[in-house]
């Protein structure tokens, strides 16, 4: 059927994907899954969450020490972003997932297999930064070979672009989906409803996982002061889009809910709007100080306690892991510090593309699909 490794679940989970946000009245109600995941999966998830956290902490440190001009990232979102990355069907072209990410998505990339050193390179704006060649801020990746569309600073624009990749995927057949994610405050921009309108056109529903990571802040502005919505996910209802608001601080729950949503999208080829409640653990960015926020729930801490209680991991093991990754990242940052800065004359490179790279990939994946008798 396709070059994708995805195997659809034996039965469609569409019926199981109720609108789980209906039950409560005024307060933000979030669902929590009950089924436990296999220990190996939990260990792997923890490993990635820890590594993602330490990567962000290294980036913050680099910026504070003058090894970078600006930091923005996702510490506090690991319990959602890691499961998301683990569940991505990674690859190039329409038979794999497209990702239109937020500047807080580093944990998703790590879970997909990104090398953390590349994030350090972008922080230090060295020529070897594979995401932008030293042009863009930290937290703004671009990985074409995995369908990771360039993250751009303007908030929310990715929601206007997502229907395009999804349209191509729907037409191609297969199980590839488009994943788009951004913050809560940004949903006030017109691009968010553009995504709702364009993914729910009758007869042309699109396979998009529309994510809002709700940390209840836009820089210094509390969401509750600007948003009359009880739940942001309610905005999908008028369009007949499946909507859910989930506890994004619980990685097991996130895994279940994302999987359920993805199974539905992969098979039904229709959108799901998922709001994930998450924390913002180091404030908005380096501009706001990038210090640890005591008041917010720390998903890593909670998860580690849970794993200890369940006897899946020991504190000693965790400490060891933490020390190891910390050292690795420190060493890596030292290496990156020595790498060359881009030359001024390179500013004229790539203003125009010489060849149609994305078109070639599409042709190739079409050919492969055809080769498989599809």
């Amino acid at each position: 059927m396709s070059t994708s490794s995805y195997q659809p679940a034996p039965r469609s989970d569409a019926e199981a994907l109720d609108d789980t946000t209906e039950k409560s009245g005024n307060e933000r109600n979030v669902t929590s899954a009950d089924a436990a995941l296999a220990p190996e999966l939990l260990v792997r998830m923890h490993d990635l969450m820890l590594k993602a956290r330490l990567l962000e902490e290294r980036l913050i440190r680099m910026q504070k020490q003058g090894d970078g001009y600006f930091w923005i990232g996702g510490p506090g979102e690991e319990a959602f972003n890691v499961p998301l990355g683990m569940l991505v069907d990674r690859g190039e072209g329409v038979f794999h997932d497209y990702l239109h990410l937020h500047y807080r998505s580093s944990a998703t990339l790590l879970a997909m297999g990104a090398d953390p050193v590349d994030a350090l390179r972008q922080m230090k704006n060295v020529a070897s930064d594979p995401y932008s060649g030293g042009r863009n801020f930290a937290g703004h990746p671009s990985i074409r070979k995995w369908n990771v569309v360039p993250v751009s600073s303007p908030i929310e624009v990715q929601y206007s672009m997502a229907p395009g990749t999804a349209y191509a995927q729907k037409r191609a057949g297969g199980h590839g989906i488009t994943i788009v994610t951004g913050g809560d405050a940004g949903t006030a921009e017109g691009d968010f409803p553009t995504c709702l309108v364009w993914t729910s056109r009758p007869g042309h529903e699109l396979p998009v996982l529309i994510i809002v990571t709700n940390n209840q802040w836009g820089i210094s502005t509390a969401g509750a002061t600007q948003h009359g919505e009880k739940r942001i996910s309610d905005r999908g209802k008028a369009f007949g889009i499946k909507c859910m608001t989930i506890d994004g601080n619980d990685p097991e729950n996130s895994y279940h809910q994302i999987k359920r949503a993805m199974d539905y999208i992969r098979t039904e080829r229709k959108p799901v709007l998922m709001e994930a409640m998450v924390s913002r653990l180091y404030g908005h960015s380096s501009s706001s100080g990038a210090n640890y926020v005591q008041e917010e729930a720390d998903c890593l801490m909670t998860f580690e306690k849970k794993l200890e209680e369940r006897g899946i991991l020991t504190r000693a093991h965790i400490d060891e892991l933490r020390a190891k990754y910390t050292q690795e990242l420190l060493d890596a940052s030292k290496r990156v510090r020595e790498e060359a800065q881009p030359e001024g004359s390179t500013i004229y490179d790539h203003v125009f593309a010489e060849t149609n790279i994305v078109g070639l990939a599409a042709a190739k994946s079409r050919a492969t699909a055809n080769g498989r008798g599809n």
Partner: protein, 353 residues
């Protein structure tokens, strides 16, 4: 003898058949209407979008990134101004990712005045478009160029803006300017490819067999050779300038008229050669005259050709007012007209330093 809108339609058909075009879309682009100017009638990949320009440009970008080949229409360029951020992102996609991605899409949109379009169906876009890096900008003045430039736009691996001078959409080609393969009889062409009035659900077009005739992006066309003055223009103003130039022949004034065709990256070689030969420059376009693309041409000319100039280079452009008024008097006072152009040509050509 195709009109420009028929030429565009035939080019889009060739695009679908042979160049990989996957989506021709926008407001009222699909059946039953096929575009408010009929540019997209009978195309197999044409579809109607929601009334949402941000969605149109955003979706075009997404399609492009997924290796598709979209041609998105903004119904009138007057309605593109809430998408400038997205256009900038498309133009910066290759550069920002240091060449990791490219973003091959075409945006086509009718521009300019001349159909009594009033404030919001008369806008030009050349000024802003040329200020957005990463885009190629083309603007035909004849059906044949429209055909060939559209094919090149489709083939280009970058975002290309195809600005269609709306007052020329229904104008026919001059004799000798046919598109190879189109039937000699214009009524026959119309029967073949224009949708009938009334119910169109059973209709299918019969496309003439027209070739892959690319007009390269970046090549100007010298419409009229001349000795005394170089006029650089494009779109609707090409014919107006050419007529003005012909008016002056009897007075012994010999004006060269260059149709830029591609606004970015433009054909400086042709311009420079001409300016050095005539030693005088007039730029004519319809856009408002402040921070106007013609001012760029003039700036470059004084920077590179200052000492050949025998008269101050000049710009004739739209009045710097918020819109083009509906009443004829208002429109004529807002946009360069033939008489005023001829007068300026005469003055510049006869100017004594």
């Amino acid at each position: 003898m195709a009109t420009m809108v028929q030429a565009i339609r035939m080019a889009l058909h060739v695009g679908e058949e042979r160049l990989g075009v996957t989506d021709v879309f926008g407001e009222d682009v699909g059946p039953p209407l096929g575009g408010v100017f009929t540019a997209t009638q009978g195309l197999k990949t044409a579809w109607n979008s929601p009334l949402d320009e941000r969605g149109i440009i955003g979706t075009a970008i997404g399609l492009a990134l997924a290796g598709q080949c979209p041609v998105a229409e903004i119904q009138f360029v007057d309605y593109v101004f809430n998408t400038i951020d997205l256009l900038k992102l498309a133009g910066g996609m290759s550069w920002s990712s240091n060449g990791d991605w490219n973003c091959p899409l075409v945006v086509m949109t009718p521009v300019g005045s001349g159909i009594h379009g009033s404030i919001y169906h008369s806008h030009s876009f050349d000024g802003m478009a040329t200020h957005i890096p990463g885009w190629k900008i083309v603007m035909p003045s004849t059906p044949r160029d429209a055909y060939g430039l559209m094919l090149s736009a489709i083939k280009d691996p970058n975002p290309v803006m195809f600005l269609a001078p709306k007052a020329l959409l229904r104008a026919k080609a001059a004799p000798g300017e046919e598109i190879p393969g189109e039937p000699a009889d214009e009524r026959q062409l119309s029967k073949m490819i224009d949708a009938p009035l009334g119910d169109r659900s059973q209709w299918t077009p019969q496309w003439p067999d027209t070739p892959d005739m690319f007009i390269p992006i970046g090549e100007a066309r010298t419409v009229r050779k001349g000795r005394d003055l170089t006029v650089v223009t494009y779109g609707r103003m090409v014919a107006v300038c050419t007529k003005a130039a012909e008016e002056l022949v009897s007075e012994g004034v010999d004006v060269e008229v260059i149709d830029l065709r591609t606004l970015w990256p433009y054909d400086w070689k042709t311009l420079k050669e001409s300016i050095e030969r005539t030693s005088r420059l007039l730029v004519v376009n319809e856009d408002t005259e402040v921070t106007n693309f013609g001012e760029h041409i003039i700036r470059r000319t004084v920077e590179e050709c200052f000492y050949v100039l025998s008269s101050p280079p000049k710009l004739l452009a739209g009045a710097a007012v918020p819109g083009i008024g509906l009443a004829d008097n208002l429109e004529h006072a807002s946009v360069p007209q033939r008489a005023g152009i001829a007068k300026t040509m005469r003055e510049l050509a006869q100017h004594q330093p």
